[in-house]
C-alpha cells in the first residue's frame, strides 16, 4: 500500500495567516509525493478541530499525518491522542513548528512563508520513515526500600506504610533513629519532649507493613523504576536476610561528623575536655555534663565552623545547636561562663533570632574569631584567636567543637551501586537542587534528609514526606508504568562488542551480553537521550523516532 500523507496547516486564529501565506504553502506542498491531502483549518487544537482531524484521518484513509502549527511542546501530545482515537498509530505523525520558530521570528512574510514550506517538506520527508511504535506497559512493584533508619528514613517508612505499602527499612547500625535519637535536647523552639522521636521509632518497629533490618546494608541492587532487585548483607557475617523486589528506593543515609581536623589546632584527642558536639549531646542525654575529673565545667567554649573552610560549605545547624548548648549550660546551677566562637552566625528560621537574643541576655559571650587555636595550658584550655588584627585568648575548662557535617561513610559505594551521582561535596546529588530536590537523577530513586546535605530535623522530615508523596504518585497500587517509547536499540549484526557505549550511557541502560558478545539496551531504563548513538564506532545504535535516515531527510530539506 502506498503512503497517504495528510498535511494540515493550522491557522491558530490570526497567528499564522497574519505572518504566513498559507494558500501559497498549500500550493507548494500539495503536489509532493505521497501527499494525499493538504488543507488549512482555523484552530486544530479546539474540540471541533480535533474532531475534524480524526474524521479526516478516517475518511481520507491516511497512513501518515503532518500537522503544521504551534511548537510540538504545546500540542504534540494532543494530536497524538487524536491519532490514537482515529486508529492511526500516534508515532506515524509529525508535528511541524511554523508558529514560534517561523511565523513569529521572521521579519518578512515572504521569508516566513518560504521557511514554512521548508519545514513542512522536512516533516513530510521524515514522516514516511516513521515506525509505528507501541506504548508498552510494565508491571511495577509498589514496595519500597529505604536505606538508612535515621529520622528521615523512619518518617519515609511511616508515611508509605500508612498508605499500605510494604517498606523494607535497612539500617546499618543496631538502632533506628540516627543522630536525632541520640540528642540530649532539641532546639529551644522544638520543645523538650524527646519521647516524640522515640515514639516514631517505636511506631516504625511495630508497624506490620515495615520490615526493619538492623545491622544490615545493601549488598547489591539492580533494576529500574518499578522493578529493583535487592539483596542485603548483615554486618558480622550472619546469614543475610531474603532477597526482595521493590519499585522505588529512598536514600536516607544521613551524615557523619567530619573528623579529619588537625589535633594541633583543635586540641581534640590531645587535651582533656575538648569534645565534639555529638559527645556533648551524649553527655547531655545521660544528664551529666562533666569534665573528665568528674566536676562540672565552670567555663565552656563552643567553637563553630570546624572544617567549614576545608569543606567549603556551611553545615547549617551547628550555630543553632551551639546556641542550644549555651542555653542548656546556662540552665545548670551554678551556670558556667559560656563563650561562642563564631565566624558567621547562621540563624535562618523565624524563631532563631529570639534564641540568639535570649542567649545574649543570659550572659553568653559571642566572639567573632578567626584562626582559632586550642591549646593546653596548666590543666586549662586556652583558646587563642584573632579578632580583626588583634590577637586574643580566653581560658576555659571545656571546649566543644562543631565539626562540619559530611556524607555518611561509604556513600560513594552506595552511589555506585545505585548508579546515581554525588555532588562536589560528596553528598548525594539531587535531580535538580531547586525544582526537584528529593529525586535522584535516575527514575525511581529518591533522596531524603541529610543524605543530600546538612539539614535540621524538621527539614529532613519534610523531605521524607515529599519523597513519600512522589513515590505514592508514581507507583500507584495496581497500576502499570509506561516506559519511554523513543528508546535506543542496538543492531546485533553490527555491534562488535567493543562496549564503548556502556560508559556513554549515564543511566546504565546498556549492558554487555557476554554470551552473544554484543551490547543490549534495557528499554525499561533507556530515556532516549540518544547520547550513545554517536559514540558507536560501528554505527550499530539507532534511536527510535530520531533515526539516522529520519534526521538525514530533515538535513536534506534544510539545505534545499
Amino acid at each position: 500500500m502506498s503512503a497517504r500523507i495528510g498535511v494540515y496547516v493550522c491557522e491558530c486564529g490570526p497567528n499564522i495567516p497574519d505572518r504566513i501565506d498559507i494558500d501559497r504553502v498549500l500550493e507548494e506542498i500539495s503536489p509532493l509525493k505521497d501527499v494525499a491531502v493538504a488543507k488549512r483549518y482555523r484552530l486544530l487544537c479546539s474540540n471541533d478541530g480535533k474532531k475534524y482531524l480524526a474524521d479526516e484521518i478516517r475518511s481520507e484513509k491516511l497512513t501518515h499525518l503532518v500537522v503544521a502549527a504551534c511548537s510540538p511542546r504545546d500540542h504534540e501530545k494532543t494530536f497524538m491522542k487524536v491519532c490514537l482515537e482515529a486508529g492511526l498509530n500516534p508515532f506515524l505523525f509529525q508535528m511541524v513548528n511554523i508558529r514560534e520558530q517561523c511565523a513569529w521570528i521572521f521579519s518578512e512574510k515572504s521569508e516566513a512563508t518560504r521557511m514554512a514550506v521548508k519545514y513542512i517538506r522536512a516533516g513530510i520527508s521524515r514522516v514516511t520513515l516513521h515506525e509505528p511504535l507501541l506504548q508498552k506497559e510494565i508491571k511495577a512493584t509498589p514496595d519500597v526500600l529505604v536505606v538508612g533508619g535515621g529520622i528521615a528514613g523512619v518518617e519515609t517508612a511511616l508515611s508509605l506504610a500508612g498508605q499500605k505499602r510494604r517498606v523494607y527499612l535497612v539500617e546499618r547500625s543496631d538502632a533506628l533513629g540516627g543522630t536525632a535519637a541520640r540528642l540530649g535536647r532539641l532546639l529551644p523552639h522544638q520543645g523538650t519532649d524527646m519521647r516524640l522521636i522515640q515514639e516514631k521509632i517505636e511506631h516504625a518497629e511495630n508497624n506490620e507493613n515495615i520490615s526493619v533490618f538492623k545491622g544490615c546494608e545493601v549488598e547489591d541492587i539492580r533494576g529500574f523504576l518499578g522493578n529493583f532487585e535487592v539483596s542485603l548483607k548483615r554486618s558480622g557475617g550472619e546469614p543475610p536476610p531474603e532477597m526482595f523486589r521493590v519499585g522505588a528506593v529512598v536514600v536516607a543515609t544521613g551524615f557523619a561528623l567530619w573528623d579529619a581536623f588537625d589535633p594541633d589546632v583543635t586540641g581534640y584527642g590531645k587535651i582533656d575536655d575538648v569534645v565534639t558536639s555529638l559527645e556533648f549531646e551524649a553527655m547531655s542525654a545521660s544528664g551529666k555534663i562533666l569534665k573528665k575529673n568528674g566536676s562540672p565545667p565552670r567555663s565552656v567554649a563552643l567553637i563553630h565552623c570546624v572544617g567549614r573552610k576545608e569543606k567549603g560549605y556551611c553545615s547549617k545547624v551547628c550555630c543553632l545547636y551551639s546556641l542550644k548548648f549555651a542555653h542548656q549550660l546556662k540552665d545548670s546551677q551554678p551556670a558556667p561562663d559560656v563563650f561562642e566562637f563564631y565566624s558567621d552566625l547562621c540563624l535562618p528560621e523565624k524563631t532563631d533570632q529570639d534564641v540568639f537574643e535570649e542567649a545574649k541576655k543570659r550572659g553568653v559571650r559571642f566572639l567573632r574569631a578567626d584562626d582559632i587555636r586550642v591549646e593546653g595550658r596548666n590543666g586549662k584550655i586556652r583558646i587563642a584567636y584573632r579578632d580583626g588584627s588583634a590577637e586574643e585568648a580566653v581560658e576555659v575548662e571545656m571546649a566543644v567543637l562543631a565539626p562540619a557535617m559530611v556524607p555518611a561513610p561509604d556513600s560513594d559505594r552506595l552511589a555506585r551501586m545505585l548508579n546515581i551521582p554525588l555532588d562536589e561535596t560528596g553528598f548525594f546529588k539531587e535531580a535538580h537542587s531547586m525544582l526537584d530536590p528529593v529525586s535522584a537523577p535516575i527514575s525511581g530513586i529518591y533522596i531524603a534528609g541529610c543524605a543530600s546535605g546538612p539539614k535540621s530535623i524538621p527539614e529532613s522530615v519534610v523531605q521524607a514526606q515529599a519523597a513519600s508523596g512522589k513515590i505514592l504518585s508514581v507507583l500507584m497500587l495496581g497500576k502499570t508504568l509506561e516506559p519511554e517509547v523513543k528508546v535506543s536499540t542496538i543492531k546485533e549484526e553490527l555491534c562488535t562488542g567493543c562496549q564503548t557505549c556502556l560508559n556513554v550511557c549515564f543511566y546504565g541502560a546498556i549492558s554487555f551480553d557476554a554470551f552473544r558478545g554484543v551490547s543490549v539496551v534495557n528499554e525499561a531504563i533507556c530515556r532516549g537521550c540518544g547520547s550513545c548513538v554517536g559514540s558507536c564506532p560501528s554505527g550499530a545504535i539507532s534511536s527510535k523516532q530520531f533515526t539516522y535516515q529520519q534526521l538525514f531527510k530533515e538535513v536534506m530539506e534544510a539545505l534545499r
Partner: protein, 141 residues
C-alpha cells in the same frame, strides 16, 4: 529572492533547552535570521558528529549545535558528550583543511530566547562574511 546572500545554516537544537529557547524567541517576537533551519533532537548528546560532517559536505554554509548549559542537561550529562564531540570535530575539520569556524556548539537555556536570537544572528553574519561553503558547488546534488 533579493540578491543579498542568505547562508544556509543547519541547527540541531536540544528539545529541553535550546528548542524551548527558540520557541521563547518567537513568543517574545525576537527577530531571528531565516538562514537557520532548526532540527529538533532530544539532547545535544544526540548530535552525532556524522550529521555535522554530512551537513557540511552536502553544502551547509554553517552547522550549529545548541544544548543546555553545563550541569543543566535533562539527561544528566549529554551536553558534555556534545562538547567533546565538537572539540573533536573542530580538529577533524582542521586536519582535513576545512573551515572549523563554520561549525559550533552553543549553550542556550529554555529561558534564553534573546540569546538564541543573538547567537543565531551573529553566526549568520559570520557566515555571510565567509561566503558560501566551497563544497556547495562541488558536492551539492
Amino acid at each position: 529572492m533579493s540578491d543579498a546572500y542568505n547562508p544556509r545554516i543547519v541547527g540541531f537544537l536540544c528539545n529541553w533547552c535550546a528548542y524551548t529557547g527558540a520557541d521563547l524567541a518567537g513568543v517574545s517576537r525576537a527577530r531571528v535570521s531565516s538562514s537557520l533551519h532548526a532540527i529538533r533532537v532530544m539532547c545535544s548528546g544526540r548530535i552525532d558528529p556524522l550529521y555535522v560532517i554530512m551537513a557540511y559536505l552536502k553544502g551547509a554554509d554553517g552547522v550549529m549545535g545548541m544544548g543546555c548549559h553545563p550541569g543543566d542537561c535533562h539527561y544528566l550529562k549529554g551536553n558534555y558528550n556534545a562538547r567533546r564531540r565538537f572539540v573533536m570535530l573542530e580538529s577533524i575539520f582542521k586536519t582535513l583543511g576545512l573551515d572549523g569556524k563554520r561549525i559550533g556548539l552553543w549553550w542556550v537555556s529554555a529561558s534564553e530566547g534573546k540569546r538564541f536570537a543573538q547567537v543565531t544572528n551573529e553566526f549568520t553574519e559570520l557566515m555571510k562574511t565567509k561566503g558560501p561553503n566551497p563544497f556547495r558547488e562541488e558536492m551539492f546534488i
